[in-house]
């Protein structure tokens, strides 16, 4: 295992996603979600690497309307925009999601920044995660990496829920990650850099 800072997690993820041509704004969102998961002691690295593989092979969707069990919507990539879309249009979204923990991270970030309450439930309408003012309740056991059908909607009032509050103050800024996975992420990030040449040296004033 390797210890890395949350700043490194953000910047390396951002660049790694850019290396496979994910749009700048989406790559930034995803990097923020990875940072959130890492600082809240949740695994993220394997999931984001898997997302990049699925994206490259065309087996993951970035469309809210066009997703299936076999090609679910990527919550790692589209989590932030999806939550904003649901919150701004005050509507319910339903569909297949991959790695919903990224969506939970987006719910918490947006709930804090924009003071809206959001609710994620499974195909049986069991609540998986709900934001309530400054709190996040989440059933971590139900957040598998499997593709599942979910509902996401704005919720107006507190509900009686029997899932646990995630302690948002229990944060870890230095995170231990799998060394091999980290090296893979870094090598993807490295692809966004331009090789050194005499011309490029002149571009730095040498």
């Amino acid at each position: 295992m390797l210890e890395v800072s949350s700043n490194q997690i953000y910047s390396e993820t951002y660049k790694a996603l850019r290396s496979i041509d994910i749009d700048w704004g989406i790559a930034k969102d995803s990097a923020n979600l990875c940072k959130w998961l890492a600082t809240h002691n949740q695994f993220f690295l394997g999931s984001i690497l898997k997302t990049t593989d699925l994206y490259k092979s065309g087996n993951i969707s970035t469309s809210v309307n066009d997703n299936t069990y076999d090609k679910p919507l990527s919550s790692a990539l589209m989590g932030m925009v999806l939550v904003e879309y649901v919150a701004s249009n005050n509507r319910t979204w339903e569909g297949y999601l991959n790695s919903p923990k990224f969506l939970v991270a987006a719910m918490d970030l947006i709930s804090h920044e924009q003071k809206c309450h959001l609710e994620l439930s499974d195909r049986h309408h069991n609540i998986i995660a709900i934001t309530d003012k400054e709190k996040l309740y989440v059933d971590l056991n139900s957040l598998s990496n499997k593709n599942e059908y979910f509902f996401l909607n704005v919720t107006q009032k507190n509900k009686n829920i029997n899932i646990n509050e995630l302690n948002l103050y229990d944060m870890s800024f230095a995170t231990k990650v799998n060394k091999k996975c980290w090296e893979k992420l870094k090598s993807m990030a490295f692809d966004t850099y331009v090789p050194e040449s005499d011309a490029s040296k002149s571009g730095a004033g040498y």
């Binding site: 230095a174 331009v194 571009g203």
Partner: protein
């Protein structure tokens, strides 16, 4: 709502009650802020100077007000200047230690550039007192800097080289019992020159968020500034130590006068430029604080005699500083010459003293001279005007940090965003993005030490990996798209259907409430001079003696004129703008 930079007295607006000092009339006013379209131009940003708000100035205020103590807690340096030292800085129960390693290095390996791999000295600011095991760990990893593995308790990572000519000359003089040549000290300004100071989680060091409860780090770049200040102290102690070994009883220590004029050099390249573009909310905070400070001092109704004299003294100090600001760069030399002439004109014009004794003195002086002075002079006047009024501007330093928002506000609809573009991005809409000259440069990151660089489209490889700094191009494309969509559609819906717009829509919406968030020039244009971006950021650091080596990099000095650690509690410790060494 945008406002003009108008100083008409009847348009002064009330903000809040502030007392300038006991002798000065209370004022409740500040002038209207300058338009972003005036301030956020590269040539103006590239004319900024140090102010009371600069981060190095904030650090010295912090050290003085909170009675920090600074001392050498370990000195294991040999007669050749090689070894390990620890400089401890203590604020109450908190201790931050500068861990120093000095290495042997061949002259041919010594380079200012970020791509260098060997340095005379490597440093880290450590949160707390390091154990021997931690020191041993750092001894292996600090010397390779970016290539090493670093500890979360390390708050910064830095390295420096000696300015060999000055270092050897000063060492020789001190060991012979003489003070060094003041001319040499002033011409160079430092004994060592840093080539990078990394902070906030870079390369695995600690994230500032993790210790942000500590007020010391709530303000921007304070850990980096403390690092540089302690490096300066170390460099002076090192030369005194080596002189004593070399000259034994006949040696002398550097005088306080000369020590105080020694800063820390820095070679700053393009690495700094992307920061201001990548952090629009923070850029707004910095500029907004500066503009607010300017507007407050221009709204001062009257100055007492002491304050009038202080302004005159500062004008003279600025002029003296300019006479000792010598550079090889032709363009900057002309700018300095014009600055000097402008200052002489202002000082010698009888109207200046007259205006100072009348109502709205600073505003009227500015208005009187503005049409006949350069941008450099305009901005140095702002630095001068702020200087005596710490009571007016100090609170603004609390407003210069921000927690950047991760999401895009959900309340916006297309109609509103189109309006923002038309009102705030007029500069971007005017760029002819099809013209070759507006697509001359592109920005990218090099594999060499991940250094940001500027490429020329028709010459260099790598444009497919360029950074998204073509703001004007993105704005125009997005406006075209938005105009084809229903105007009451939420902007969230636009972004979910067109994810490629998210980056620029985020910027545009930030700019709606943070008007100084955007540099209002096309950064891909053949007219772009990155040195202006560097100068802007360096002015907020509190740099002096900008010494451009091209349009792409500059040398500067930090903490020149700042109090030495044992002078921190002196009455005027915080008044060190425009460093000047007499008889130099």
């Amino acid at each position: 709502m945008k406002t003009g930079y108008l100083f008409f007295v009847n348009r002064l607006i009330q903000i809040k009650k502030m007392k300038i000092n006991n002798k000065t009339k209370e004022t409740q006013k500040q002038s209207l802020l300058r338009e972003p379209s005036k301030v956020m131009k590269l040539d103006r940003l590239g004319s900024f100077h140090q102010t009371r708000l600069s981060f190095s100035r904030q650090l010295i205020e912090q050290l003085k007000n909170n009675k920090w103590t600074i001392k050498i807690s370990k000195w294991d340096i040999d007669k050749n200047g090689i070894g390990n030292a620890i400089i401890s800085s203590v604020k109450g129960a908190n201790e931050f230690c500068l861990v120093v390693f000095c290495h042997p290095i061949n002259d041919q390996d010594r380079s200012d550039r970020v791509i260098a791999e060997k340095w005379d000295m490597t440093f880290s600011l450590f949160n707390g007192k390091p154990t021997q095991a931690e020191i041993n760990y750092m001894s292996k990893n600090l010397k390779v800097q970016e290539a090493g593995h670093h500890l979360p308790k390390q708050m910064t990572l830095s390295r420096a080289n000696k300015s060999v000519r000055v270092f050897n000359s000063v060492l020789s003089s001190l060991s012979e019992g003489k003070q060094p040549s003041k001319t040499l000290i002033n011409d160079i300004g430092y004994l060592v020159r840093t080539t990078a100071v990394y902070g906030n989680g870079k390369f695995g060091i600690g994230d500032f968020d993790s210790i942000s409860e500590n007020s010391f780090l709530k303000k921007p770049f304070q850990a980096e500034m403390l690092t540089v200040y302690l490096i300066r102290f170390f460099s002076i102690e090192l030369i005194n130590f080596l002189a004593k070994i070399k000259g034994e009883v006949s040696s002398v220590r550097l005088s306080d006068e000369i020590s105080k004029h020694i800063g820390v050099g820095n070679a700053t390249g393009l690495g700094m430029a992307p920061f201001l573009i990548n952090h629009p909310e923070l850029l707004h905070k910095w500029i907004n604080a500066r503009e607010t400070a300017i507007s407050k001092v221009l709204a001062i109704e009257n100055l007492d005699i002491k304050q009038q004299n202080e302004i005159i003294n500062l004008l003279n100090r600025a002029l003296s500083y300019c006479t000792q600001w010598k550079v090889d760069d032709q363009n900057q030399s002309v700018r300095i010459k014009n600055l000097r002439l402008d200052l002489e004109t202002i000082i010698n014009n009888p109207s200046t003293k007259k205006l100072l004794s009348q109502t709205y003195p600073l505003k009227n002086i500015f208005d009187f001279f503005v049409d006949q002075i350069s941008l450099e002079t305009e901005e140095i006047l702002h630095s001068i005007f702020m200087e005596p009024f710490s009571n007016l501007v100090e609170n603004l330093t609390e407003e210069m940090a921000t927690v950047e928002t991760k999401s895009v506000p959900i309340k916006y609809k297309i109609k509103k965003v189109i309006n923002i573009i038309r009102q705030n991005y007029d500069w971007a809409l005017k760029v002819d993005v099809n013209e070759q000259k507006e697509n001359h440069f592109f920005w990218y990151t090099s594999q060499a030490k991940l250094e940001p660089r500027l490429g020329v489209q028709v010459r260099d490889h790598g444009s497919e990996k360029q950074l998204p700094f073509d703001i004007a191009h993105q704005v125009q494309n997005t406006l075209k798209l938005l105009e084809t969509l229903p105007e009451n559609m939420t902007i969230s819906e636009v972004m979910i259907k067109h994810p490629e717009t998210r980056n620029i829509i985020r910027r545009i919406i930030i700019n709606d409430t943070s008007e100084y968030s955007e540099i209002q020039d096309n950064l891909h244009s053949d007219k772009t001079k990155p040195i202006d971006i560097l100068r802007c950021k360096l002015s907020f650091f509190g740099a002096s003696k900008y010494d451009p080596k091209s349009d792409l990099w500059t040398r500067i000095t930090l903490f020149q004129g700042a109090p030495l650690p044992h002078q921190l509690q002196e009455k005027n410790a915080c008044d060190w703008i425009f460093p000047y060494l007499s008889d130099a």
